[in-house]
Amino acid sequence: MAKNKEETVLITKDGIRHDGRKREDLREISFDVGVLDRADGSCLIQWGRNKILAAVYGPRELHPKHMQMPGQAYIRCEYRMATFSVPDRKSPAPKRREKEISKLLGEALNPALFTYLYPRSVIDVFIEVLQADGGTRCAAITAASLALADAGIPMRDLVTGVAAGNLSDKIVLDLDDVEDKEGLGDLPIAYLPNLEKVVLLQSDGIFTPDQYKEALDMLVPACKKIYQLQRKAITDKYSQINEAVQKDIEAEEKDKPAKDKKKAEDSKAKDDKKAKKADDGKKSKASDKEEKKKKGLKKSSKKKDDKKQASKEKEAKKD
């Protein structure tokens, strides 16, 4: 890496970055919703070379008890980087950076959730960075909001995150690892696209006021772009379920007429038999009638018994 430091050109005069992207180009983003069976909600995001897994559990009982809040749920967010997520092995112990990001992400998700619905409980959000390549906190919060939606937890809006950066006084979107380290500044944001609210804003490095404004002007449309991808991910998953259900319903409906036909045929057969019996003679008819009457009496008496039993049971319950 040290050798490349002088060689890497972060951005050319034409505005082409070291990986061939233009200034306002995002990396390729794809989502996989509901990848974990044991979690209540989960999402795997692949953002360029980032791979991040987010899992949501809860709302559930919070231990230790002294952390329970009487009026709202506690959002326990844990951001963790796998030891193999970076070129040099990362120590598995949570360091300052991870603790800070955990806290930030929890606080950024808070305004999107109705925490007052679940007092004294906890909503656990676990974020595991499997492969890191810059901009993990933005990717993490994007994935976490999808996992929350997948878990069926009521939300005000989905949360979307992107970062802008300063590469030799040119503002660009979505920094990768090299740009993050070599560039002049980094400005991550998390945004509620429908409500148009900013829930996370950090900045690191050098930005002039004009550059700051320019960065924000680029970030908001980028967030809305990513929001469309998020929508597609959820719609794809649940519309598939929709289709499956609809197919089932259609299949049932197809079966129904067939069954009805069968029933009709059966009843016709019965009618025929009855007719035959009727043809057998008036005497048998009369006897049939008597039998029917008897049956009817029996039925009615049975019904009465049933009613009596039910009332008895009710009384027993009351006692």
């Binding site: 809860g58 939606a149 997948d150 069926g152 009521p154 939300m155 429908n194 649940y238 519309s239």
Partner: protein, 188 residues
């Protein structure tokens, strides 16, 4: 106004507040009715409400009147604490904790909680109050009480002898319990 059956995500606009009242799965912000959960729109024109029929799982939260099943963990003379494993037949992991005072164990007077329950018993109860912590439950109905218990002497399964009494076939030990009416036959 969004049409019936339209698929929406959290934060999506449904209608303005004047058109319909917000029902389940919706909320109001700045006079607009918005979605909170992923699902399809249900427009009740009689009640003039609009709600979301969720396509995702519903969070499992205990509320008053829910039937819970769990294991008695700590029994003393006046109280029992139970870890709830099932709420309305749905399993909860990890468990919720709940307690019951002796006055809610049976309808009649009880001298000691040990005459109704013992540690390790599987109990069915009904939530009386979900706003306290731990949750409070009761077993004062015929269908509530112990649904499975082991002998406190030898550990074998107890058999229903008569109302309020269980017997161990292995060691002939007879134990008092607040037994549910379907003891030994209950299905989770």
């Amino acid at each position: 106004m969004k049409e019936n059956g339209e698929f929406l995500l959290p934060g999506d606009y449904i209608c303005v507040e004047e058109e319909a009242l917000p029902g389940e799965g919706t909320y109001v912000a700045e006079g607009k009715v918005l979605t909170t959960v992923t699902g399809t729109v249900f427009n009740d024109k009689k009640k003039r409400t609009v709600s979301i029929f969720p396509r995702v799982r519903k969070p499992l939260v205990p509320k008053k009147g829910d039937v819970i099943i769990g294991q008695a963990e700590n029994v003393n003379k006046h109280m029992v604490s139970m870890s709830v494993k099932y709420i309305n037949g749905q399993s909860v992991t990890p468990s919720y904790s709940s307690i019951m005072h002796i006055s809610h164990a049976t309808r009649s007077y009880l001298d000691s909680m040990f005459d109704a329950l013992k540690e390790g018993d599987i109990i069915r109860g009904k939530i009386m109050d979900a706003h306290t912590l731990p949750i409070q439950f009761t077993t004062t109905y015929n269908e509530l009480g112990v649904i499975y218990a082991l002998c406190s002497k030898c550990g074998e399964r107890l058999r229903y002898l008569r109302r309020g009494t269980l017997k161990c076939d292995n060691c002939d030990n007879v134990e008092p319990r607040k037994v549910a009416e379907d003891y030994g036959r209950a299905r989770l």
